[in-house]
Amino acid sequence: MIQIALFIWLLPLAAFVINIFIGKRLPRKGDWVSIAAIGASLVLSSILLFRVITGYNPDFSLHASLHWINLGGFKLDMGFYIDNLAVIMVTMVSLVSFLIHVYSIGYMDGDPLYNRFYAYLSLFSFSMLGLVLWDNLFGIYMMWELVGICSYLLIGFYFTKDSAANAGKKAFIVNRIGDFGFLIGLLVVFNFLGTFNLIDIQQDIGRGLLSGGWLTAAGILLFAGAVGKSAQFPLHVWLPDAMEGPTPVSALIHAATMVAAGVYLMARLSFMLSFDAMMVVAFIGGFTALFAATIAITQNDIKRVLAYSTISQLGYMIMAMGVGAYTAGFFHLITHAMFKAGLFLGSGSVIHAVSHSMKKIGMEGDPNDIRNMGGFKNKMPITHWTFVIYALAISGIPFFSGFLSKDAILGGTLAFAMSQSNPVYYLLPIFGFVAAIITAFYMFRLIIKTFYGKPQLKKLYEHVHESPLTMTVPMMTLAFLCLYFIYTLPSLGPVGAENGWLMHLIQKPFSAVAVQLGRPVYGITPQAEHFAHVNGLIISIVFALTGIVLAFAFYFWKTINVEKFTEKIKPLYTLSLNKYYFDEIYGATFVKGLLVWNQILAWFDQNVIDGLVNLAGRVMRVFSVFDGLFDQYVVDGLVNAVADITLGFGRGIRKIQTGQIQNYILGALLGMVLIIILTMI
């Protein structure tokens, strides 16, 4: 299996190398190379998945590694750690990636940098797969950075657009801030345990080699990486901007896979989160879920709505990891990957159609703006129906995947809150449930505005048409994967996936922290769990439906006048529309501050450091007897500090060479007398 995993991992790399160097000269600009590579990876990972499912062993794991760096006192091993989590994740990644590769044939058709696009996609697949497969934090960190670079390259793919270039840069730098925490976390771990290997770390923590405050710190620091990559508050600002990238990229990287890497990392590291760390994770996740959802309501850019939705959903997952609902969080990761990728592909299809139409009618404008759309359902039936399925899934409507996973999360948070004495923990389920209403609301707002109602721009509408098969087939595939039974097999009960293969295979790993403390970190009683599940189920269905109904009330039936309503809550509306001004605040503080600080330092460098002794020279000048001479002093090509003084002295000393022979003799005699006097004293 390790060999298979190796192939899964390396095939996209090979495709990348081929495409980046000779892709341009290959037939079809080499897209088939990348597609074939990721297709092969998909097939191979399906084999793995098949084996895992047939094995049906929750504790299955494989580990193989070799020395990468061995310096005696410092070793780094690199290897694969393959367990159910990794296999399912790998399958998901290669599947989504494959679908998006296929989709891009249609979407990116005719782009001048077509081959480069595929090369980047391959590189991304490679890095993402590596991130999933590596057995150690260091390797994960490496791949983490690599996916970041791919993300940078792909966001800035249309690099002639300033906004795209800015977005790419912003994404990378904001991620780097998170990675900074990640790196420090790595250092803490290595400092205490001397290893990066996940298995060793788990054992060592179990033995208590890293505990207390440092353990919490390590957990939070590593989580910082996840905050950056999964766009959690307060580092969420990059993801909406990242929508400047081509839509398939948004679907692959900024919805399904890379942004989920943070969640995956938390899943991988769940064993080392202390209670405090978990609470940080949970509250940041929960807050983000709600916070991002409130922004999504007011956005008019179709992709931005989805971007905030992604942030919100990732918040859910993170929150799940924080409260220990590990399985639920991961489950949501998988289902979310499907429907969110689908949503993006759907939006891509719409944007594709709109922009083509715009081109045809010679209209300038933003193809992403939903205010220009409306009534597309007749023109784009496949897009419309798949989109509705995804929306139902994300809103948490029964019979769709999202319902199962979201419900599991909400149930988990509720159970957690119930099992804690402090009522403040009830905030978490409240975040979740409120976000659920809003989610349903904004999703259907989006659908209604795009596909229903009257076309806003008649002429534009005329030229909209359904996307080609290469695009619709992946969309349909993903829509299919949003159906509930995929995840509940072998059972077919629509209300819960507890008996499904996925939740069976992914069970909470043994928490090293719990072992170390000798007791469970938090005790969720079975009663609480059952109660929470049942109640959570009901509440979430009701809330989801409420959200949908509200959306219809606002935008379809227009029973509530949107304008009037927004007038009423104007301040809130403006806040949400402007994303709570985070970009502006960051821009005014950190970015501006940094630039000003740099200017100060550069000035300092030029004027102070270089001029320090220079300055000393000037001071000397003031005290110098030969003041008059210095006045004409021009730094003759040599601003060099020491020289300033020495040259100054040079000028001064020359004054005694008057040309008068008697002065010379006098000088010599005085010198002699001076020496005699000085030495005799």
């Binding site: 004054k655 060479q657 008057t658 040309g659 008068q660 008697q662 003799i665 006098l666 005699l669």
Partner: protein, 101 residues
């Protein structure tokens, strides 16, 4: 009875006079005379020391040699001064300051 210090004082006075002559005469020949004064003070010293310290003729011999040296020096110096006079029509040393920093 004239003792050694008397000679030394005289010679020191002559030496000082020589130095001041050198420093204050504008005329090159005058400066040369200052040099001669110093050399004479040297001679005085040598002779005095030869009489009072080193009983022999060493000091006297030195004095004779210095007289000869002074003469040859004067000859060369006057030649140089003459040459300068031909070029510049002056032997005022304060005017000879073309070269300086």
């Amino acid at each position: 009875m004239i003792q050694l210090p008397s000679f030394l004082i005289i010679s020191a006075i002559v030496f000082t006079l020589g130095i001041f002559t050198i420093l204050y005469k504008k005329n090159a020949v005058g400066i040369l005379m200052g040099v001669e004064l110093i050399l004479n003070s040297v001679n005085l010293n040598f002779i005095a020391f030869a009489k009072y310290v080193d009983v022999g003729i060493n000091g006297q011999l030195v004095a004779i040699f210095i007289i000869i040296l002074a003469a040859s020096e004067a000859a060369i110096a006057l030649a140089i001064i003459l040459s300068l006079y031909r070029e510049r029509a002056t032997i005022d040393v304060t005017l000879v300051d073309e070269m300086k920093d």
